[in-house]
Structure formats: C-alpha cells, structure tokens
C-alpha cells in the first residue's frame, strides 16, 4: 500500500512542536516552489523600477516590452549602449484640480530604466514601436549571440 504524505514523516526526533512546525513550513515552502514555479529567477518584480519589462527572445532577436499607456513613441527616449538598453521618458497625466475626483489611480511622472541584455546585439538595427500603449523594442542579436547548429560529422 502506498501512503502519500503531505510532509515527510517526522519520526526522526523532532524535539518539540515548534521544531516540527518549522520543518513542516520549510517543506511546504519547497512544495509550493516546485508546484507554482516559486520564486525562480526572472519572475515577479525584481527590479522595482518603472516600467515593468518583459524580455523574450527568438532565434535572431531579443524583444523588450513595456506597458506604457498614454505615451507616444516620440515621447520616449530609447538608447542602446553595449548590451544595455535604456528606456526613459515622462508620463504626463493632466489632472484638473477644479473638479471632484472619485478615483485617481493613474500615475504620472518621469521614469528611466536600464536593462542588461543577456547577449550582444546589433545596435544599428534596433527598432521600437508603440501599439495600443505597449512598447516593443526589437533588438537583433549580434552574429556571435545567435545559436549555431553544429553538425556532428
């Protein structure tokens, strides 16, 4: 008969109830990490700097995306130095002071963010586009960063 336990049996001498609870907590932490993908690197909000970015890649490009509703492409300043991409600008939200606000959740202000890319890029052919408030920066990989198929002879 197979018995599936929520946590490993603590018969190996947990001295008191607190120790047992601690073991249980650590086990559950590990379990939730393995089930939900947990705090694996690269998820969540590690930078804590506006704007939040998503970085993806395909064979030939890196793609950096950010949600910047209300900004036009020409209001953004996008620079590439080496492997670092800088996105900066200012989000202007006109708030009328003479009216009664029910909700005021949209934030304005300036921002600047640098993201380091994992590989070399071809800085001359970087393109940026803004569609419906989503910025997409397309960065072609330098030849050296592209995956190379190696044929076994």
């Amino acid at each position: 008969m197979i018995v599936r336990r929520m946590y490993p049996q603590l018969a190996y001498g947990a001295r008191d109830a607190f120790e047992e609870l601690d073991l249980m907590r650590r086990y559950l932490d590990r379990l939730s990490e393995s089930v939900f993908g947990g705090p694996s690197p690269g998820r969540g909000m590690p930078a804590g700097v506006f704007p939040a970015l998503n970085l993806t890649q395909d064979r030939d490009h890196y793609f950096v995306r950010a949600e910047l509703p209300g900004l036009r492409a020409d209001e953004l300043n996008i620079e590439v130095v080496g492997r670092n991409l800088t996105i900066s600008g200012e989000r202007r939200i006109a708030h009328d002071e003479n009216v009664r606000y029910h909700r005021r959740e949209r934030d304005g202000g300036s921002f600047s963010r640098i993201i380091g890319l994992p590989g070399d890029i071809n800085a001359d052919r970087v393109e940026a586009g803004m569609v419906n408030g989503i910025l997409t920066v397309t960065l072609p990989k330098a030849e050296a960063s592209k995956p190379r198929q190696i044929t076994v002879k």
Binding site: T56, R59, Y62, P69, H102, R103, E105, D107, G109
Partner: protein
C-alpha cells in the same frame, strides 16, 4: 510639481473574484481616473494592449462595465527570459449614482488609454399630463 516626480512601479492588480469569466487566463483591474463635473462624469482608463475594437463598454441600469481583451502580441517562437508583468483581460464594474444620458455617451481611445464621457441626464422637466377621455 507632481509632473517631475518619478513613477513608482506598481504590480498589476488582479481581479479578486473573476466571476462569470468564460475565458481562461488572468483578469486585471485597469487603473482609472474618474471625475465629475456639473454636466458629466468623465472616466479615463489605462488599457494597454487592448485594441479599440476589443473594448466593450456596457451601461445597464446603474452599472457600467468595462472590459477589454488583449490579443497576444508575442510571436510564437519567443521564449521568456524575464517576465515582470502578465498580460490578460481587463474587467471592471462601476455603479453610477447619477442618471446618465445614454444617447450622448462618447468614447475615444488613444495609445491604450480609453476616455469616456458620460453626460448626466437633464433633470426631468415638469410636465403637465392631460388625461384624455377614452
């Protein structure tokens, strides 16, 4: 000046009770500004990634429902390296206390921001009702 301050990063707020959602995937609450003037209620909502034709605005009785579908904008060949924001539908409901003139509602959309003008209904004018003999 509030304009020169730095924007703080805020995680997208996920809808707490996604009731009656028929599509799978996360649902987010869009950030809105709502203000009221003498004649109208004006609402501005951030809906990044939603095309104008995918925004649904529905006013039924006193409840205004705002929803927007985000079409996937990533290519099929792309692998994630860093994920700081998730993408999903937007959904939010408001209960309006003022009667709104539905005929004159105006909506515009630009760069992922929806602007909604909800004119208040003119006060019902006093009318004399004549009873006609049948």
């Amino acid at each position: 000046m509030s304009d020169s301050k730095e924007i703080q990063v805020k995680g997208k707020q996920e809808l707490a009770t996604p009731a009656e959602q028929t599509k799978s995937g996360p649902v987010f609450v869009p950030a809105v500004d709502i203000y009221e003037t003498e004649t109208a209620i004006v609402m501005t909502a951030d809906l990044p990634g939603v095309a104008p034709e995918d925004i649904q605005i529905d006013l039924r009785d006193d409840v205004l429902t705002l929803s927007g579908d985000v079409r996937p904008f990533e290519g099929p060949e792309e692998d994630d390296i860093l994920v700081e924001f998730e993408v999903g539908r937007y959904y939010r409901q408001f209960t309006l206390t003022e009667a709104i003139d539905q005929e004159r509602i105006q909506a515009s959309h630009r760069d992922g921001v929806l602007h909604l003008n909800l004119p208040k209904q003119a006060k019902a004018l006093p009318r004399r009702i004549t009873v006609s003999a049948a």
